[in-house]
């Protein structure tokens, strides 16, 4: 399990989630994103292309981060969901809260 943060040349922060996003590591992701927000970043992509599973705590932290980023005039986009994760977002109706793209590159292009 690992989180990676990279800032592209246009200032978009791309966060990679390797392994899982669950109750035991969600605070680590939250803090990393909030630190970047505090430092002035406003556009974020979370890339789940290397993510196995997400529990409800992981979903909850995404909801919380999205609200905090919006409050600062920014936007959080999600990318790289596999079929199971896409279904998870659909059944919880969280697909209606987030802009979701197939790849991080597509999300970057859409900013």
């Amino acid at each position: 399990m690992r989180f990676t943060l990279k800032k592209d040349k246009s200032g978009v922060v791309v966060v990679g989630v390797e392994g899982q996003l669950i109750v035991g590591n969600r605070q680590e992701l939250k803090q990393k994103v909030l630190d970047a927000l505090e430092e002035g970043s406003r556009k974020f992509i979370i890339d789940f292309s290397k993510t196995g599973y997400i529990d409800s705590s992981g979903l909850g932290v995404l909801v919380s981060l999205s609200k905090k980023i919006r409050e600062q005039g920014g936007e959080l986009r999600l990318a790289g969901l596999n079929a199971d994760l896409q279904t998870l977002f659909e059944l919880t109706k969280l697909d209606t809260l987030f802009a979701i793209t197939r790849t991080a590159e597509e999300a970057l292009a859409a900013f």
């Binding site: 196995g52 409800s56 919880t92």
Partner: protein
């Protein structure tokens, strides 16, 4: 298989991997093990540790795995006061959609074939069938 999981949210991922990696090959499809079982068990353990044992390091959550023909049953029991699973709000209602918490049991119900609770409400049984 029986497992006593310390009441530490940081251990949930490792406990889930331990259970998933000890299932005999062919019990469930690899996809159901890698997603449905792992997610549902992480939910159940997270709920038990956070709300059942209050993240008290001196307490444990007990996990028992029973294997049948084409079926896996996972029991997760804590020593807390339990709760009434019928009294949880629907997290997909518009007013609840932006809440950070409250999706755990809803997610579990969609990922496994059957969910049962003990009478006290401090134990859950997740049933996953092959196929």
């Amino acid at each position: 298989m029986k497992l006593d999981v310390p009441s530490d949210l940081g251990i949930v991922g490792a406990a889930v991997e331990l259970v998933a990696s000890h299932l005999p090959p062919g019990t469930l499809s690899p996809r159901r093990i890698s997603f449905n079982l792992r997610t549902a068990l992480a939910e159940a353990l997270g709920n038990a540790i956070r709300y059942g044992t209050g993240e008290d390091p001196d307490r444990v959550v007990r996990v028992r795995v029973e294997l049948g023909e084409d079926v896996v049953r996972i029991y997760v029991v804590d020593d807390g006061n339990g709760y009434d699973p019928r009294r949880l709000p629907d997290p997909t209602q518009p007013d609840n959609l932006e809440r950070e918490f409250g999706r755990g049991l809803f997610v579990i119900r969609h990922l496994v074939d059957d969910v049962a609770f003990n009478e006290k409400g401090n134990g859950i049984c997740l049933t996953l069938r092959a196929g």
